[in-house]
Symmetry: C3
Subunit: 408 residues, 3 copies
C-alpha cells in the first residue's frame, strides 16, 4: 500500500464525529428544561378575531390543544381528547356554556368543568363534578389570545408593552400572523419546520443582514442595512439587546436598538431605516421541538388596509412559497438560512467567532434562566404585580445622540 | 413571587400525566394477547367476486399477505415474499396449479407447496418439496373469503349465521365492502386509520345515537333513533348484546336487540326502525394496530341493483371523503367520533359513566377470553363440530312483546 | 376441542419466525462493515456536465453532501452544514475561490479551507485557518465525478477501464444516468428505494433472464436471451464473473461473459446478443441502506444523438414510471423483482438453489473482503500504483471459441 499523501487530505470528512443539538436550549416539551422555562411565561396561541365557536386545533410547546370561543365570548383552551372516552373536541359544538363532545354530548366550560352529560341520569348531576377537562388559562390583549401553560402557582401577570400601549394620534393595534411567507397562499398560520432557537438567536445577529439580506440576495431591506455595523451587545432587565452603529454615506451615524425580550419576544427596528421607536412586536412560539410559528402585533393607522402586505416576504409579486427551487437558491432569506440548519441545528459542530458574541450571550442568559427555573426560581422578566406589568421595549432607529432610554 | 391563586386553577392541564392505551385489548400482531385471541377465529380477508388470478396485497392482523384465486378456482392466501429469494408474489402469475414468482419462476399451490422450479435441473424435482411458501387456510361463504390465521390444531369450523342462511322468498346474499365512506370514490376497500376496538366497542354503546347521530348532526337515521333509550346489556353464549327500549310517540315501545358476536361480528338492527330481524352482518377486521376495515354480507332481493347505495354514508349527494373540513366538524358521524380518539385511544384517561356499562362489559369479556386463550383454552363462540356451526344472531327491531328468542 | 387435522396444515404461516436482513452485506453507513469496505473505492457522485456553480445535494453511503464546481472549474464535495453555524451550503454562492455560505458569507474552497469571513475583523485572517469544512477528494473521468470517501491514507488510484479507454474509430465516451426508468419523466437522477445488494447480486444471476425477462413479460431482450443457459461462475482478480452458454437455434453456441467488478461495477454484455466486447459500464451506488442509484458510461459514435433512448426501460412508448399498477403486475422487470424484495431483503428466509450459485459466491467474496478491510487490509481490485490503474473488463458476447482473455 502506498498512500497518496495523508498531509494533503487534512480536514477530510472521513471519520468526522457524529454531532448533536443542544437539548437544554432547544427541547420544549413538558418536563424538558427549556420547556419548563418557557412555561413560566404567557404565549400567544391564536388571533382573537379568528377564535370563534368553530373549534380549532393548535399545537404549542409539544402539546395538542383545542382553541375556541364560547357563545358568551370567552376564549377557551382545552386538551383535545374528551375526558369521557377520548373523542376529539375538534368535532365538538360550542354554545353559551361551553363545548360539547360530538360522541355523547358531555359539555365543558372554558375552564374544563363538565356541566352536562345528556346520556346520564339527571344529566350527570350526581357525578359530573368529578370530571374536569384539562385546560389552560387564557387572556386576550392586542388582538391576540395568550395562554399560560405553566404551574398555576407561578402564573405571572400578562405583560403590557409600551410599544403597543402608547399610541400616536389616530393609531390602533393590529394583530396578524405574517411570517416567512413560505406557507401556502391561504395558510394564515404558517408553521416553520425547524426549532425555534434558530429563529430566536437570529435576532441578536445583526451582521447577517449585510450578507444574507444584502450582498447575497440584493438589498432585501434598505440599502444602508448592507453597511457592516459596529455592534454592541448588552444584557437588560428583560433579556438583552444590541445597538448597531452604521456610518451613513452622509456622515451621520445611525444607531439601531434591537432587543430580545425573554423568552421569545422581539421588536425589530424598521428595516427600511425609518427613524424612531418600533411599531412591531413579534412572538416566536415553539410548536414543538422541530417547528415554530410567529404571532405579531403592531401599531397601524386606524384606517390601515394593508393586510395583504402582511402576508410575508415576496420575490417580485410572489410569496416565498411560490418561488422555484432555483430562486430559493439564488435569493436566500431568513427562511433558507434557518431551515438549512435542519430541524434542530447541530450545535456541537459550530465554530463561533467575534460576530457571534450576541448569540453566545443569548444562549448564556437562556441557560442561566433555565437553571433558575429548575432550581425553583422565577425567570427574568416575569412579574406577579399588576402594577409592574408594563414593559419598556426601547427599540428603534435613532440618529446618534437622539435615543432616550426608558427603563422598565 | 405572588400567586394569582392556585385554587382558581384546579384541573389545569399543567403537569397532567402521560396516558397510554390498553395494549392487552388493542394490539393484534402475532404473539400479542389480543392478536392470539383473534387468531382463534375465521376472518374475512376478501370479497369472493374480487379474488381473481390477479394477485392482491392484503394486510390483516399486522400480517402482509397475497390473496389470489388459481385457475381451478381455489382461493389462496400466502406470505408475499417468495421463499426462494424474496421477490413479491404480488408480481406473480397465476395458472391452474398455483402462483409463479416473476423472478425465477418458482410456483406454489394454494397451500404453499412448491411444484415447479424452472431454472433448476429437472424443474427442481429432487429438492423442491423442501420448500414451502407459508400459507393460511381459506374457505368461502356468503361471497366472502375467510381465512384462519391461528394454530392449525385449534382451527374451528367456519360458522354459519342464521341471518344469512334462512332466506325469505326471492332473497339472496350479497357481500360488499361498504364502510365509513371516507375512502376515495374508487376505493372499495376503505381502510380506516384507527384501532379496531374504537369501532367494535361503539356497537355496545346505543346512547351515542341520540347525540352523535341526532342532536348533533341532525337525524342521520330514523328520527325515533334520537329518543334516549333505556338500555339493558347482557352476556350471551356468543358474546354479549344490548336491548334498547324506546318509548315511541304513539305510546308503543320499540325493543332493539343488537349483539356483539365475538370476536368482531355485529348485526345492527335497521337504523330506520323497520321492524323484524336484521338483514346485515358486518365484520370489523383489524388490519394492524392502527387500522381496520369492514366486510359485510346481507340479504337482498334477488334483483337487487343498489350497489351504489352500499358505498357508505353521504352528506347530501357526496360521500364522506368529499366533505369539507368544516362539514366534518358540523356533521360528525362515527368516522369523526372514532378517528378523533386517535390511532389507538388512550384508555387510561377515560372517565366511564353509567351509559358506558356496555363498553365496560365488552372489555371485561374480551379480557377474560384473551386470558383463556393465553392459558391454552378455546375462546367463546368457537366450535369444532360441524353440526354446531349454525349461530343464532337474534338481532332486530321488535315492538314490545313480539321478540322470539332463538338460542344457538 | 377437536382438531381439523394438523397434518393437513403443515407449512402453515402461523408461528413462522421473524426474519432479518444480512446487515454485514447491506448496511453502508460510516463505521458499518460494508460501509467501510465500500469507502475503500472511488464512487461516482455526479455527472460532470451537470456539476456547475449551482450547488446540488447528493446523498451517498448514508452521507448528505454538497456537490458543486467552482468558478475555476474545480469540482468540490463538502458536508452541507456550514462549519460556522450550520446553514446549508445548498443556498451558498460559488465563485472562483469556493462556495460562500448565505448566512454570514464564510467561503470555503473545494478542499474545505475557509478563505473569507466578511463579518470578522480583517475578514477573519487571524483565525479562519482554524476552520475547515469537511470535504472529500474528487476526480473526474469518463464524464463522471468520482469521490473517495474513505480514510485518506488508503486512497487508491482512480481506476481506468479498458472498455472506456480503447475506443474504436469515431467513438467517444458518454456518461448518463439511465436507470430503471421508474422515476418521473424529468428526474434524471432516479433513486431506487431498495438496498443496493438486491441490484448488485442480480448481475450474477443470469437464469432470471429466461423467466423474468422472457417467459413472464414477453421477450424484453433478444428472444435468444430466453434460452435457459448453462452457466459457469468463477472468481477473478477484480471480483467474479459468469460465462453463460446458450445453444442457439442455428447450432452455434453463444458465450456471454459478464463480470462483477468489485465493489459495485458491472459491464453487462449486449442484451440484444450483438457479439463483441461490451460498450457499457454501470456503477450501482448506495445512497443509503434502503436506496441506491446508477451511474453509467458508454462508448457511442461521436455523433450520437440518442439521449432519449437512455432514459430507461419502456413498455410501449411509456417509461416504467407511467405504467399502471396492472401493467406493473403483468410485465414485471428488474424494478418489480427487486423492489418486491422490500427496502432490504430478508436474507434469513431465503432458500437458495443451484441456479443461485453465483449469488452465493458473490456474497462469500464480499464477506471475505469486508473482513479483510476490518482487519486492516486493502480489498480486492484497489491499487495505489498509477501504472496499474488500467482494469481489463473482459465482458461481451462471443460465439464459441472467439473470446480472447485479457488479464489486468
Amino acid at each position: 500500500m502506498q498512500s497518496s499523501g495523508e498531509e494533503s487530505h487534512s480536514g477530510c470528512a472521513y471519520g468526522r464525529p457524529v454531532h448533536t443539538h443542544d437539548a437544554e436550549l432547544t427541547e420544549v416539551g413538558p418536563g424538558k428544561p427549556c420547556g419548563e422555562f418557557l412555561r413560566r411565561y404567557w404565549h400567544p396561541v391564536g388571533l382573537s378575531r379568528l377564535v370563534t365557536t368553530r373549534p380549532q386545533n393548535v399545537r404549542i410547546l409539544c402539546e395538542d390543544l383545542i382553541l375556541f370561543r364560547d357563545g358568551k365570548g370567552r376564549a377557551g383552551l382545552l386538551t383535545p381528547r374528551c375526558a369521557h372516552r377520548g373523542a376529539s373536541l375538534y368535532y365538538g359544538k360550542v354554545d353559551d356554556e361551553g363545548i360539547r363532545c360530538c360522541y355523547h354530548g358531555w359539555r365543558f366550560d372554558v375552564q374544563g368543568r363538565c356541566n352536562d352529560q345528556p346520556c346520564e341520569p339527571d344529566k350527570g348531576a350526581a357525578h359530573r363534578d368529578k370530571v374536569r377537562q384539562p385546560w389552560y388559562p387564557v387572556e386576550e390583549r392586542y388582538g391576540l389570545v395568550f395562554a399560560y401553560m405553566g404551574p398555576p402557582a407561578r402564573k405571572p401577570v400578562l405583560p403590557r408593552w409600551d410599544v403597543l400601549e402608547e399610541l400616536d394620534e389616530g393609531e390602533t393595534v393590529l394583530a396578524h400572523l405574517t411570517s416567512y411567507g413560505a406557507g401556502t397562499q391561504d395558510d394564515l398560520s404558517e408553521i416553520a419546520p425547524w426549532n425555534w432557537l434558530q429563529d430566536w438567536e437570529n435576532i441578536m445577529d445583526p451582521h447577517h443582514v449585510a450578507v444574507l439580506h444584502t450582498s447575497f440576495s440584493g438589498a432585501q431591506f434598505a440599502p444602508e442595512m448592507g453597511i457592516m455595523p459596529d455592534v454592541h451587545w448588552e444584557y437588560t432587565d428583560l433579556g438583552m439587546r444590541f445597538i448597531a452603529y452604521r456610518n451613513l454615506p452622509d456622515g451621520k451615524v445611525m444607531e439601531r436598538y434591537s432587543p430580545c425580550l425573554f423568552p421569545n419576544v422581539r421588536s425589530v427596528p424598521d428595516v427600511y431605516m425609518q427613524t424612531g421607536r418600533t411599531k412591531r412586536m413579534r412572538w416566536c412560539v415553539p410548536v414543538d421541538d422541530t417547528h415554530h410559528r410567529h404571532f405579531n402585533a403592531m401599531r397601524v393607522p386606524a384606517d390601515f388596509n394593508g393586510h395583504d402586505g402582511l402576508r410575508g416576504r415576496t420575490v417580485g409579486d410572489r410569496i416565498w412559497a411560490d418561488m422555484t427551487e432555483a430562486e430559493h437558491q439564488e435569493f436566500p432569506h431568513d427562511w433558507e438560512a434557518q431551515i438549512g440548519q435542519g430541524p434542530i441545528s447541530l450545535h456541537s459542530e459550530e465554530h463561533l467567532a467575534s460576530a457571534d458574541k450576541g448569540v453566545v450571550m443569548l444562549r448564556r442568559l437562556m441557560r442561566q434562566q433555565i437553571r433558575i427555573v429548575q432550581q425553583g426560581g422565577d425567570p427574568i422578566g416575569v412579574t406577579f404585580d399588576p402594577d409592574k406589568a408594563l414593559n419598556r421595549v426601547g427599540a428603534g432607529n435613532y440618529l446618534q445622540g437622539t435615543y432616550q432610554e426608558t427603563k422598565r
